[in-house]
Amino acid sequence: MQIKNTEQVYGLVSKAIHWLMAFGLIGLLTVGWYMEDMPNSPEKFQVYGLHKSFGALMLALVIFRIVWRSINKQPAAPLGLPKVAAFLAMAGHGLLYALMFAMPLLGWAMSSAHGFPVSVFGLFTLPNLVEKSREMAETYGSLHGLGANLLLAVIVLHVLAALYHHFIRKDDVLKRMTHK
């Protein structure tokens, strides 16, 4: 299997980051909604700590991913794809990247504003992005929550689009991110 992408297929690195982030993001969204309503307890703090650590990991991955994407070919759109579908794919992927980048930053800013610095798996602590502020923490928190809803919606559309390609158009768009 190729390390780098080709005109036909994603390379090993792109596939690995795609699937690591897929599981990471779905896990973070699930835990994010669950942890909000946990009663105040050491477990809640632990879960928050893990959510922040994995969020920071996702930020590192998405930065690497953007760099990797910029120095790699992107497999071409399948032949005969309607223009509107091609546009939707581009817009959807753009939105996914924007959210993958913005979500950890908003979470980080929210933590900083709350005065709860982000420790990454207890290994090191991220510098505070913004000053402590109760009002701004709420603003970042609302945006982080809004972003989560939007991200979930875009992920669902992304999965539906992959299934559309695979089962309705019967092209190789899904396969080239899996086993082709």
Binding site: P42, F45, G115, P117, S119, T125
Partner: protein, 176 residues
């Protein structure tokens, strides 16, 4: 008679100034470690009575803290820290500190021993401080204490998530 009143008042004033008044800009803050990162808050209302002496080793400090004035930027944390499991502000609204012994260290700082009454439990506590006296005869001191929260039955037994050690710092500006 007028003279007597004035001299009586001046006597009274000198007694009052003997115990200090806490000036604006004074702070009482705490810093704990949760998930490996420092989090802090402060008590907005507290009062310090200092018994001044030119020999700092003979000084005494008494501090009364309004636990209900605890402020943390994260409102949920502020509420939780005042709850029964943590400081239990509804039952123990005040904490009191009384110094007992001050000794000067070779580096010019001072070590201070005393007792802290917190959440109904009194425990000895030691700390250190530095002092500068500025031109307006303000006595400016920075204190640092380390307490173990579980000595006062404060918070979760689990010390992995929130460490037992809590750093208390206080910047005092006192008018002599």
């Amino acid at each position: 008679m007028k003279c007597f009143v004035v001299s009586f008042l001046s006597l009274f004033v000198s007694v009052v100034s003997f115990a200090s008044t806490l000036e604006a800009g004074s702070k009482l803050e705490f810093e704990a470690i949760q998930n490996g990162a420092a989090v802090s808050g402060e008590f907005k209302k507290f009062d310090v009575q200092a018994l001044f002496n030119d020999d700092i080793e003979k000084m005494q400090f008494t501090t009364v803290v309004d636990i209900t004035s605890l402020y943390a930027t994260y409102e949920e944390v502020q509420t939780n820290l005042q709850s029964a499991e943590w400081l239990d502000a509804p039952s123990f609204a005040t904490a009191k500190y009384q110094s007992s012994k001050i000794t000067q260290n070779s580096d010019g700082t001072f070590s201070i021993l005393g007792e802290l009454l917190l959440k109904g439990i009194t425990q000895p506590i030691s700390g250190k401080f530095t002092v500068v006296e500025n031109a307006e005869s303000r006595f400016v001191a920075d204190f640092e204490f380390n307490l173990n929260r579980l000595d006062y039955n404060v918070g979760w037994q689990d010390t992995n998530v929130v460490k037992n050690e809590v750093k208390i710092t206080s910047h005092l500006i006192l008018k002599k």
